[in-house]
Amino acid sequence: MVISITHEDFDVNAMIQSRKAPEVGGLVSFVGIVRDDGITKIELEAFEEAALEELNLIKDEAFEKFPLMSVDIIHRIGMLNVGDNLLLILVAAGHRKEAFDGCEYILERIKETVQIWKKEYTKDGERWVPGEHH
């Protein structure tokens, strides 16, 4: 299983292929990509040690809550362009419901607590994407 914060892109198909196993009945992936909100590019910044610890905690929580076979989370940081991959969550389970539920749980928890921030660049300047206070 891969839990990482990286400047590198990821290969979704290769990851899916590598997680197929006889007992796996479903793989749910969430691929977050950079949306064009009138931006020219976006910069992602992380408190890497804390964010990695938090991602591992979220993975452990997901395993406690749902009967999952594997969990991979790759969050990119650095300067990205519209259409670039930003986040991969890949969850394998025996059946579809736990795979979907596990993937959604992980995504919502990432948005709540993982120490990553986004700064958007537009032709008029730059702005921090506001986070929600928890």
Binding site: L44, E45, A50, W117, G131
Partner: protein, 92 residues
Amino acid sequence: MIITIKAFARFREILGSETTEEVPEGITLAGLLEQIAGKNPKIKTALYEGDNTLRRYVILMQNKKRVNQEDVQTIVLSDGDEIAIYPPVAGG
């Protein structure tokens, strides 16, 4: 004693990504924040409301453990502690 301060996102732009602060023995986390705010009006405005209460959205970690804002007055820092300051997260 020496405390390391790490700041992220909009706080990094004001405080710098990593700085060290010399503080007296027995200082509380609230005392550290007041000390750094006293050095620079921009830091003060970023951290505090007009009535000198800590802005609600300021998130603090001590040695990578999240700190409740209600506890800043009672947390006594130790030499070598690392304090992280950041705004609400926006990943995913």
